[in-house]
């Protein structure tokens, strides 16, 4: 699939994943195995869900709705609504991966792996990388994360129930800690920090005052748009 030089970058990506990110996401999504069990689904369903849905919140919604015997159409709608955020996430990574002759199918495959873990590490590492190294690095990183997590989500079917409650609670909060820290680590300039700050400041307000499931949309447009506008003027003033 890759030329020798590209293979080197593929393995560099895999190694980067094994320095932490793959383990964080693998441990935090172990709980999907327990969720599958609660929904009377086999452990293989949790593994398939990790490999195919990948994004954590979508999986949690999916299994939770199945366990609650929600109507199939309503499940599909809820999962889709939670995945709208994948659109801006993909859009902030794919242009960095795309070169002159990158095929559309390659980008489709790359987009499949984009959820928080791969998104945040891409934002942090790809900009400093030569363009031809980015795709192999990306796939090495992403496949390692998804591969390890697919295994642990199957293991979680048996293991999570055996854990003492404080440790199980710790596993459940691993992803918010990791996501927030990794996003802060990926911040490169003022606009990223303003966006993080705007999200922190607006979240309590939108959760309290914006109903109907639109709170995140409002937060994204107002907070993200505001952060961009502020940095746009800041750059104009400096230039």
């Amino acid at each position: 699939m890759f030329a020798p030089d590209e293979r080197r970058w593929f393995f560099a990506g895999a190694r980067t994943a094994l320095t932490g990110p793959a383990f964080y996401v693998a441990l935090s999504l172990m709980s999907t195995g327990a969720l599958a069990r609660a929904a009377d689904l086999p452990p293989e369903a949790a593994m398939l869900a990790t490999a195919l849905i990948w994004a954590g919140p979508g999986q949690v919604l999916f299994f939770g709705a199945l366990a609650a015997k929600t109507a199939p159409a309503a499940i599909a709608f809820a999962v889709s609504l939670s995945s709208v955020r994948l659109l801006p996430m993909c859009l902030s990574v794919l242009p960095m991966l795309r070169a002159e002759k990158t095929r559309r199918t390659t980008l489709l495959l790359a987009a499949h792996f984009i959820a928080v873990t791969v998104w945040t590490e891409s934002l942090r590492r790809l900009p400093d990388m030569a363009k031809e190294r980015r795709l192999p690095f990306f796939f090495g990183f992403a496949l390692t994360c998804v591969g390890l997590t697919t295994l642990t989500s199957g293991l979680g079917y048996w293991l999570t129930a055996a854990l003492p409650a404080p440790l199980a609670g710790g596993l459940m909060t691993l992803s918010p800690f990791y996501f927030l820290a990794a996003t802060a680590r990926a911040a490169r300039d003022g606009s990223d920090w303003i966006a993080i700050g705007a999200g922190l400041a607006l979240a309590p307000l939108t959760q309290a005052f914006v109903g109907g499931g639109f709170d995140l949309l409002v937060l994204a447009v107002v907070g993200g748009g505001g952060a961009w506008l502020a940095s746009f003027y800041a750059r104009r003033v400096v230039a």
Binding site: D40, L41, P88, P166, T173, A181, Q207, A227
Partner: protein, 113 residues
């Protein structure tokens, strides 16, 4: 729909989980080739995605899992403040943030549990 997810678990994963979320990724591929890496639009999208992620995380914190239901919101917020302190104290270390935050939340769950 006369479709029982419990009888067809794998089909359920594909039709009710995979396809509804994957469409957004497919749509992004269609749009992405119009966005230049150096453009203002790209910067805007990056800001939106970043703010969105912070919002998603805070939503998770506001609605805790069953195991942490007994831990007060203030203590959960405190665990995050502790994680943030460790993050900056160890020169933006992701590992330090996770380690500190996890230690605080497991202790809190045991204390209030």
């Amino acid at each position: 729909m006369s479709f029982d997810p419990a009888l067809h678990p794998y089909l359920a994963v594909i039709v009710l989980g995979f396809l509804p979320s994957e469409v957004w990724r497919w749509l992004s591929v269609v749009i992405a080739h119009k966005i230049d890496e150096q453009s203002e639009l790209f910067r805007l999208v990056r800001c939106i995605a970043t703010a969105l992620l912070v919002g998603v995380v805070l939503k998770i914190v506001a609605t805790p899992p069953r195991e942490l239901a007994a831990v007060p919101l203030l203590a959960r917020g405190g665990a995050f403040a502790f994680a943030a302190t460790a993050f900056f104290a160890f020169r933006r270390s992701v590992f330090a943030a996770i380690f500190a935050g996890e230690a605080a939340i497991v202790f809190a769950a045991w204390w209030w549990g």
